[in-house]
């Protein structure tokens, strides 16, 4: 029984991580209509920034700030140099321009840090695990990630639904021109939203460092899963990103955890493991196909 709970927590942790990326992606798309493939690169830049500062200074706090700063700066530069020219362009141009950004970021990081993955240690304060249930010791660091993720989710919810900036973001999503005609500089708002999205991606990256490998292209692997989350949740909706992320996080983790065991009854060990690995990595895509059959606009469509 405790194994199931442990996997559920892992699923929740992966879900929360996905939410940090999906929230930024769906906000940027929902309000500005821009599909940004390089969002994964910001995740990578956050991870490398934190890893680099941690290696140089050894201080956890500076590493966190370093990661966030790197992602924010990369995000702002990306928005000013490239994305600002893409708002009026069609999706094909946006896809290709941001695809080019991926190439630039990946190659740039390879030159700076080489191809070998960096090792980042878990901050001492959060090392070890804690007894949350008799017989179940769960790593403190992963609990911290869940806590941070849920806090960010709450913060985002309050920002979007309780503050004036949040109102303007929602208003801009439906009537961009009208918001300008009432005296609000919408482009400034976009840059702020983009910066927030970049920060969230950087935060996810720097938190992922200790548990996943910090390597070139790490952003792209999680980016595609984030796309699945945004499609399932409903493009442009924060609530959709949150629930979509949790669903995908739980489904993906539990498939990887329980499928091998199940299949082992039917076939030999090695074959079962290989097929289980394949099926579980395909699982979330099948889930997406099912959701699309039932609700083409996703579970929580934004502007309805």
């Amino acid at each position: 029984m405790t194994l199931v709970l442990e996997q559920l927590l892992n699923g929740l942790q992966f879900g929360v991580m996905l939410f940090l990326l999906a929230a930024g992606l769906t906000l940027i798309f929902g309000i500005m209509g821009v599909i940004n493939l390089a969002h994964g690169s910001l995740y990578m830049v956050g991870a490398y920034g934190a890893a680099f500062v941690a290696a140089e200074t050894g201080s956890v706090v500076l590493a966190i700030l370093g990661g966030l700063a790197a992602a924010a700066i990369a995000g702002m530069a990306m928005e000013l140099v490239v994305l600002r020219r893409l708002y009026a362009r069609d999706h094909l141009d946006q896809v290709l321009a941001t695809f080019a950004l991926i190439l630039i970021f990946n190659q740039g990081v390879t030159i700076l840090f080489g191809r070998q993955p960096l090792f980042v240690s878990v901050p001492p304060a959060l090392n070890g695990s804690v007894q949350i249930l008799p017989g179940l010791a769960y790593p403190v660091y992963r609990l911290a990630i869940i806590a941070v993720g849920l806090l960010v989710a709450l913060g985002l919810y309050l920002l979007i639904n309780r503050t004036r900036i949040g109102m303007l973001v929602r208003a801009g999503a439906t009537h961009r021109e009208m918001v300008r005609a009432l005296g609000v500089d919408i482009r400034l708002l976009y840059t702020a939203v983009f910066g927030l999205g970049a920060l969230l991606a950087g935060l996810a990256g720097l938190m992922a460092g200790p548990i996943l490998a910090v390597q070139v292209g790490m952003g792209e692997q999680i980016l595609i899963t984030t796309f699945v989350v945004v499609v399932i949740g409903g493009v442009g909706s924060i609530r959709g990103a949150f629930f979509g992320a949790l669903i995908v996080g739980l489904v993906d983790t539990s498939l990887r955890a329980f499928l091998p065991g199940l299949l082992r009854h039917a076939m030999t060990g090695s074959e079962a493991d290989a097929l289980a690995a394949g099926l579980s990595s395909m699982g979330i895509y099948l889930l997406m196909a099912v959701v699309l059959l039932v609700r083409p606009k996703g579970l929580f469509p934004a502007h309805v």
Binding site: R164, M167, L168, R170, A171, A173, T174, H175, E177, M178, V179, R180, A181, L182, G183, V184, D185, I186, H303
Partner: protein, 233 residues
């Protein structure tokens, strides 16, 4: 306050405005009359910078504003109530009023939520509801309230009573008269000639993208033939 001289603008290939000229002084209520398709809304969109004018001169309190960004023009002190109302559907009534509220010109007694609710009690009843669920008339009041909350020097009302039930129309006219009494300068686009004659000080008639006539309410009253030719059925 606002002066427009030989304004021309077009949507892509088709030119709509050929020569529009009008003036609005402080505290004055002016109307823009004309049949549908004569360019009334295009004139407003050009003044607000939502449609870059092809040529012509637009001055607000002496400052040239032709072609600059809509938010910059709005900040000079123009509040727009657009045709079709365009309230923010996913925001609540209160949020619609508060989101873009501002007092950039530091007006002495600025518009507050309470004052708007006093003007439109119905909005207070629905403060928490999302704007999408409001009826046509209520959305109109919300759009007017939203513009007032930016404390504009000039309020532009584009087809403010169009398609509303008579009782609601009368309520809106009452509010516009109250605003006039408080010295608010207003540019009105509407069709109800009789009401406009009573409320407004001066009128312009637009025909095929040109201002073809202007005059006071008295001149308009004396000129029934004019009304019929350019405005009536």
């Amino acid at each position: 306050m606002l002066s427009v001289r030989n304004l021309q603008s077009a949507y892509g290939a088709s030119q709509v405005l050929f020569d529009v000229a009008l003036d609005i002084a402080e505290g004055e209520v002016v109307t823009l009359l004309g049949r549908n398709g004569m360019g009334k809304t295009t004139t407003i969109r050009s003044i607000m910078g939502l449609l870059g004018p092809r040529s012509g001169d637009i001055r607000f309190e002496g400052r040239a504003v032709a072609g600059i960004a809509p938010e910059k023009i709005a900040r000079c002190g123009i509040g727009l109530v657009p045709e079709g109302r365009q309230v923010f559907p996913t925001l609540s009534v209160r949020e619609n009023l508060v989101a873009t509220a501002a007092n950039r010109l530091k007006r002495p007694s600025p518009w507050t939520l309470e004052r708007v609710y006093a003007l439109f009690p119905r909005l207070q009843e629905r403060a928490g509801q999302s704007a999408r669920t409001l009826s046509g008339g209520e959305q109109q009041m919300l759009a007017v309230g939203r513009a007032l909350m930016t404390n504009p020097k000039l309020l532009i009302l584009d087809e403010a009573t169009e398609g509303l039930a008579p009782v609601i129309r009368a309520e809106i006219w009452g509010c516009i008269e109250a605003l006039k009494a408080q010295g608010q300068s207003i540019l009105l686009i509407d069709k109800n000639i009789n009401v406009l004659k009573r409320i407004a000080d001066r009128h312009y008639i637009l025909e095929k993208g040109r201002t073809v006539w202007s005059g006071s309410s008295a001149d308009l009253a004396a000129n029934a033939e004019l009304v019929h030719r350019y405005v009536g059925v």
